[in-house]
């Protein structure tokens, strides 16, 4: 049955996330926008609370599901599970501050990759830790298959060499999940992910970026200089897969996280709309949903256009891709990827 409202079972979560956004993130939002690269210590308490809540509330987890659970959920039909819960949380938190949400301790993107392919033994070792993700290189951005960082087996270790940029939380995380190729001549199938401890001497911080926005979140650039990791740190199978099969797993991480990126835009865009609505009200401007745009002031017409764009993004761009575990019958990566560009528009208009 078609229903686009937030389900009742997630209302508590949405409410809690909103409270945290309003009372923890908003008060320190400007502070860490100015003090770029300064660690927001206030988040430690919040992260602890979230960890406890997660433990108590089994249904909610900010990580993305494994392939197996996605398949199971698809068979079960619409369950409004973990992906939708995460998304609702992300939207609310980003209403508070997107940079602070991104740098929430232990909520890093790397856990998505770990959960997607880790063995039980690896989950035991790495689960629950703050894990960043290192994919992008100076010459490989959206074309992830062009990765040049290499991993060579040497005894019981892999030796990693290369350069990684744009690593979110790279300076603050405990672990960095590094994408590297076992054999550059093979292409996508040889790309594997490796868990590197942040204090590994071969992992050298080059610099932290100075950015336009999301400044509370650190963005690190690394050089991997003969960086040795135990061979048990290769996530998933060390076999070089056929190109399509191997890379599909890698891309699944993207498909699972793209709705979250859209959710961030939806959250911060709602914050902008909420504030604009308050300011219009203070200015004595009344917004009507009855009268046509042409019968209202230019300011109201523009507000309604923005709100309509947001409404579309709020209920579609972000939530619809949650299909793999939320409302799904036939999620396809192609459909998922279609979503993201639109969610950036209301924030940029």
């Amino acid at each position: 049955m078609i229903n686009l409202e937030i389900p009742e079972k997630l209302e508590t979560l949405a409410g809690q996330a909103h409270m945290a956004a309003e009372h923890v993130l908003r008060p320190i939002s400007r502070k860490y926008d100015r003090a770029e690269h300064t660690y927001p210590v206030e988040l430690d308490t919040l992260a602890e609370l979230i960890a406890q809540a997660n433990a108590a509330q089994a249904g909610y987890d900010t990580s993305t599901p494994t392939e197996t659970s996605a398949a199971k959920h698809a068979a079960d039909g619409n369950i409004n599970g973990r992906s939708l819960a995460s998304l609702v949380g992300v939207i609310e938190m980003c209403w508070g501050d997107t940079g602070l949400m991104l740098t929430m301790p232990r909520q890093g993107l790397g856990q998505a990759a770990i959960r997607a392919v880790a063995t039980p033994e690896q989950l035991e070792r790495f689960g629950g830790k703050w894990a960043a993700m290192a994919i992008t290189e100076p010459g490989a951005g959206s074309d992830s298959a062009a990765i040049r960082t290499t991993a060579v087996l040497d005894g019981d270790d892999y030796v990693l060499n290369g350069e990684k940029i744009f690593v979110t939380s790279g300076d603050r995380a405990d672990l960095i999940v590094v994408w590297a190729t076992l054999d550059r001549s093979v292409g996508r199938g040889a790309i594997k992910s490796f868990v590197v401890e942040r204090d590994n001497p071969g992992l050298k911080l080059d610099r932290l970026e100075h950015k336009l926005g999301i400044r509370a979140s650190d963005t690190a650039n690394f050089v991997l200089d003969n960086c040795r990791v135990p061979k048990e740190n290769l996530l998933g199978s060390p076999e070089i897969a056929t190109a399509r099969e191997g890379f599909a797993g890698v891309m699944q991480t993207f498909d699972n996280t793209r709705p979250m990126i859209a959710g961030m835009a939806v959250g911060v865009a709602r914050a902008a709309l909420d504030r604009t609505r308050e300011l219009l009200a203070e200015a004595g401007v009344e917004i009507s949903y009855d009268h046509p745009l042409a019968a209202q002031s230019a300011a109201v017409a523009e507000f309604l256009r923005l709100e309509a764009d947001w409404g579309r993004d709020g209920c579609s761009r972000s939530r619809r891709p949650g299909w793999p575990t939320t409302g799904c019958r036939t999620p396809s990566p192609r459909r998922l990827r279609r979503r993201r560009p639109r969610a950036s528009r209301p924030t940029s208009r």
Binding site: E5, P7, Y289
Partner: protein, 384 residues
């Protein structure tokens, strides 16, 4: 006239129970019905659309099949011959969408009477339902429509120039004019919006009433709906003609249900555009390869898909709120804002992607462009 004066009150559909989960999947019943309507739309309506557009008329055979499919009875309460216990705005939206994939003008011609039946089901008293509803569950439902739009620039449905005045006897006199009324010339029953006591109110007006006259008014688009103007000159209406007790909330909801209807029609036609151009840009070869390989072409098609999906979901959100008895006026307004901007853009992109071919009547995209122009423009005419 209040319901208490009757031995038995009016019949109503109950509001649907809100879904517990966030869900984008139609029910099995909805899917079956929509499949049947889409089959009719693509195999019967689409081939007849060009001629219907030129003739400014929907062939009677298509109207008859639409009636057989039960499209007029979605909003009719069970005791009055309907088949659905609950309000079914989402189902109605899905049907409008499927039908408009065939042709928006034909869809409007088929669905305008359903809007009147829905209004009677929602707000008619027992006498009004008894007098008018049987015709809508008949094999051949009458031409009927909701007449809100008026012939002037910057029309606002909450500032009406059509006026009703009370007579000392408690009856009404109606004066004014309506525009873009579907199947106006043959309309047997209209729901007319008019100002009464400085607020909008709704009146049931039979086409044959003295002082009512209709003229064909072919428009840029939705021509198969045979739109026309209707004028009311000193039209005397009995007290029983007032629909919904002049409750301002009734009028707000009717306007909003009309907006959802236009959005649903726009979605169907936009889907037709998307499917048509997707095939075309992959087959049309220029400079040795399909034009789809050009980014400027591929991005246009992708943007059509993105905006269409967004419009569909906001519209469905409004419809789901409406059928479950929650406030939906805001969502309907936002859906309309999207339709006004993006549906029109999609129609234009459909023409552009076909180049010079798109401008000719060899391809349907020029008609879809003209039809989509109506989606964010016309108020009323139908309601879901």
């Amino acid at each position: 006239m209040s319901a208490e004066t009757h031995r038995s009150g009016p019949s109503r559909q109950t509001t649907a129970v809100p879904g517990a989960a966030f869900d984008l999947t139609p029910t099995d019943e909805q899917r079956m019905l929509v499949d049947a309507v889409r089959d009719f739309a693509l195999n019967r309506v689409r081939p007849a659309a060009l001629a219907a557009d030129a003739a400014c008329q929907t062939p009677p055979a298509l109207l008859a099949t639409a009636a057989e499919l039960g499209l007029t009875t979605i909003g009719v309460p069970e005791p009055l011959g309907g088949v659905l216990e609950h309000r079914a705005t989402v189902t109605a939206a899905l049907i409008a969408e499927a039908l408009a994939e065939g042709d928006m003008g034909v869809a409007l011609a088929c669905l305008a009477p359903a809007g009147v039946a829905t209004a009677l089901g929602l707000w008619g008293d027992a006498d009004q339902q008894g007098a008018h509803m049987p015709a809508f569950v008949d094999d051949a439902p009458p031409a009927a429509a909701i007449a809100i739009a008026e012939p002037r620039v910057l029309f606002d449905p909450f500032t009406l120039h059509t006026r009703a005045t009370r007579t000392p006897a408690g009856d009404f006199v109606l004066d004014g004019a309506k525009a873009l009324v579907p199947r106006a010339a043959g309309a047997e029953l209209l729901v007319v919006a008019a100002e009464l006591d400085a607020a909008p109110a709704l009146f049931l007006v039979e086409g044959a009433t003295a002082g009512v006259s209709a003229e064909p008014e072919p428009a840029m688009g939705v021509r198969a709906a045979a739109t026309g103007s209707v004028s009311f000159e000193n039209v005397k209406l009995p007290a029983s003609a007032l629909l919904g007790d002049s409750d301002p909330q009734v009028y707000r909801e009717l306007v909003a249900l009309g907006r959802i209807g236009w959005c649903a029609l726009a979605i169907g036609t936009c889907q037709a555009v998307l499917d048509y151009v997707s095939g075309y840009v992959n087959e049309r070869v220029a400079f040795g390869e399909p034009i789809a390989t050009r980014q400027s072409v591929a991005f246009m098609v992708a943007n059509i898909a993105i905006e269409l999906d967004g419009l569909r979901l906001v519209t469905q959100r409004a419809a789901a709120l409406a059928e479950t008895g929650r406030d939906f006026v805001r969502e309907a307004a936002l859906a309309r804002v999207l339709a006004a901007r993006h549906a029109m853009q999609i129609g234009s992109a459909g023409v552009q992607l076909l180049g010079g071919h798109g401008y000719t009547k060899e391809h349907p995209v020029e008609r879809w462009y003209r039809d989509l122009r109506a989606a964010g423009m016309i108020e009323g005419a139908l309601a879901l």
